[in-house]
Assembly symmetry: C2
Homo-oligomer: 302 residues x 2
C-alpha cells in the first residue's frame, strides 16, 4: 500500500474514528484533519483525533495520498470545491457517505480528472461529534466501495487495503445497487424510527412522560437510531430519494396488509410473518453483525 | 404482605423470571408452577424456576395466595378455566399480559367472584421459553396494575408489595388507558419491526444475504424485537385491536407526511423532526429506561 498520508475532512464520529483507527493500526501513516467548526477542531486537537488539525481545508489536504470526506452528503460538493486548490494530482478522493450515487456524481462534477472512489463503512452509533469517535468502530464491519466504471485497479486495491487495515471487510458494489441495499438496511429503518418517535411525542391521549416511562416495551430500541445526527440523515433522504421512496412504498404495502389482518382477526397471517422474521435475526447474530445476548447485553442479566 | 405462596402458570421468560425473582427476593414465599408443555416443565425443574413443578394445573394453584397467569393473552381464559377447580377463594388472580382490557374481561367472565387484578410488568427480552428467564428481569422496570372498579384496596396493596419486592416500580392505571399507552410504546414498535423485517426478506433486488451483511446500518435493531415470541404477539394484536389500529393510523399519516417531504425535497421538515426526536432519547436514558452507552453498549468501544 502506498498511502502514507491521509487527510480527513470533517472530524465527527466517522472522521474522528478513522483518525484514531489509523493511529492504532497504521502508525506510520500521517493524518491531518479539518472541520468547518472551530469548536470541533479544538476538541479534535484535545483528543488527538488526527496528527495535525489544520485551520484551513486547503492545508489539510495538501500532498495527502488519500482524502476522506466525512461530512454530510449534502455538503460533499462544497467541501470538495473548497479543498480543490490543495489537492494533489495523485490523491485518491473518497468519503464515508451513506448514499453513493449522488455523492459520486457530485465529486466527479467538482473534481474532474481526479481519482474518486466513493466508500461507505457500514458502522456507526447514535452519537455524533468529535467526542463520539473510537478506534474500533470499523472492526468486523463491512466497508462498501463503489468505484466508477473504468476505475484504476491499483488505486482501488490501495483503498481496499486501507479499510482492511482498519479492521473492515471490504465489498465492491455498483453505486445504484448500494443505494437500494442501504435504503432497506439503514435508511428506511431510520425513517421509521424517526416517524414513530415523532408520532409518540405528538399524542394528546398519552403523555410524553408515559411514553418515556414505558419505553422498555420496545419503543426505546427505536429511540436509539432516532437520536442520530439530523443533518446527516436529512441529506441521506434527499440524496437517496428514489430508492428510499421505492422501499418505503413496499414497506407501506406490507404494513397495510398486516393492518388488514389485525382488523379481520386473521391470527394465522400474523403468526406466519412473526415466525419468519426470527430466522433473519439468527443469521445476523451468526454472522457477527449483532450481539447475541438478550437486549443486546443491556443491563445486568445474571 | 400476606402472600405466602405463589402459583405461576406458564414457565417461559416471564413466568420463569418471576419464579427466580421470588426465590431471590422473597425466599420465604413458596412457588409452584405449571406449563402445558411437558418439555418446558422438565427444563423448569432442571433450572429450579419454581420450588415445585406440577404436572397438573389444578395442583399448581391449590391453596396459592397469588396465581399469576404467564401465558399468551389468547390462552388466559382457557388457563383460568382449567385451574378453577383448585383455586382458593381468597386467591388473587393476576397475569403478565401485554394488553389488559381483553384479559380483564376474560378472567372476570371465567372466574366470577374471585379477586382479579390484571398486571403488566413492562419488561422482557427477545428471548422466550424456560431457558430465557433471569431473576433481575424486573429490576428498575415498571409494573402496571389495572385493578377493576371496586377492587379491594388491601388486596391491591398486597399485589403492589409483591411486585415492588421483585424490584419493580408499580403504577396503577385504567385498563383502557394502559392499552392505548402500550399500543404506542410497545405494540406498534413490534408491528413495525415485524413488518420491515418481512419486507426486507421478500425483496428480489436485494438478497437476504445482503440484508444480513449490512444490517449494522440500523436494520439489526429492528430484528431484535422482531425475534420475539410469535404466539404471544399474535394474541396481543388480536386482543388490543382497537388501540393498535388507532395508533397505526396516526403512524401511517405521519409516515406519509415524511414521504411527501422527501418527494418534494423539503429538507427543513425532515431536519425539524429529526431534531425533535433526540430529546425523547435523552429523557429515556435519564430515567434509567435504557443504556446510555453508544449502541446500547454492544461491542468493544474503547
Amino acid at each position: 500500500m502506498s498511502i502514507d498520508s491521509v487527510a480527513i475532512i470533517g472530524l465527527g464520529l466517522l472522521g474522528g474514528s478513522i483518525g484514531l483507527a489509523v493511529a492504532e493500526h497504521l502508525p506510520g501513516v500521517q493524518t491531518r484533519g479539518f472541520d468547518a467548526d472551530p469548536e470541533v477542531r479544538s476538541r479534535a486537537s484535545d483528543r488527538a483525533l488526527v496528527g495535525e488539525v489544520c485551520d484551513d481545508i486547503v492545508d489539510a489536504v495538501r500532498g495527502a495520498d488519500l482524502v476522506i470526506l466525512c461530512v454530510p452528503v449534502g455538503a460533499m460538493g462544497m467541501a470538495a470545491s473548497a479543498m480543490k486548490p490543495g489537492l494533489a494530482d495523485h490523491a485518491i478522493v473518497s468519503d464515508v457517505g451513506s448514499s453513493k450515487q449522488g455523492v459520486a456524481q457530485e465529486l466527479e462534477r467538482v473534481l474532474p480528472g481526479h481519482t474518486v472512489i466513493p466508500a461507505h463503512p457500514v458502522a456507526g452509533t447514535e452519537q455524533s461529534g468529535p467526542d463520539a469517535g473510537f478506534a474500533s468502530l470499523f472492526h468486523q464491519r463491512w466497508c462498501i466501495l463503489t468505484p466508477p466504471d473504468g476505475c484504476d485497479h491499483a488505486r482501488l486495491a490501495e483503498l481496499r487495503g486501507f479499510w482492511e487495515a482498519l479492521g473492515s471487510t471490504v465489498d465492491i458494489m455498483d453505486a445504484a445497487h448500494h443505494d437500494l441495499v442501504l435504503a432497506v438496511t439503514s435508511h428506511i429503518p431510520h425513517l421509521i424510527a424517526y416517524t414513530i418517535v415523532g408520532t409518540a411525542s405528538d399524542l394528546e391521549e398519552v403523555t410524553r412522560s408515559e411514553v418515556i416511562k414505558y419505553s422498555a416495551g420496545g419503543f426505546r430500541d427505536f429511540t436509539r437510531i432516532a437520536a442520530s445526527d439530523p443533518t446527516m440523515w436529512r441529506d441521506v433522504f434527499l440524496s437517496n430519494r428514489d430508492a428510499v421512496l421505492e422501499m418505503l412504498g413496499r414497506f407501506s404495502e406490507d404494513l397495510t396488509a398486516l393492518q388488514r389482518a389485525i382488523r379481520r382477526g386473521d391470527g394465522d397471517a400474523l403468526h406466519d410473518l412473526f415466525t419468519r422474521t426470527r430466522a433473519i435475526r439468527r443469521s445476523i447474530i451468526e454472522q457477527g453483525q449483532d450481539d447475541a445476548r438478550p437486549d443486546f447485553g443491556r443491563g445486568d442479566h445474571e
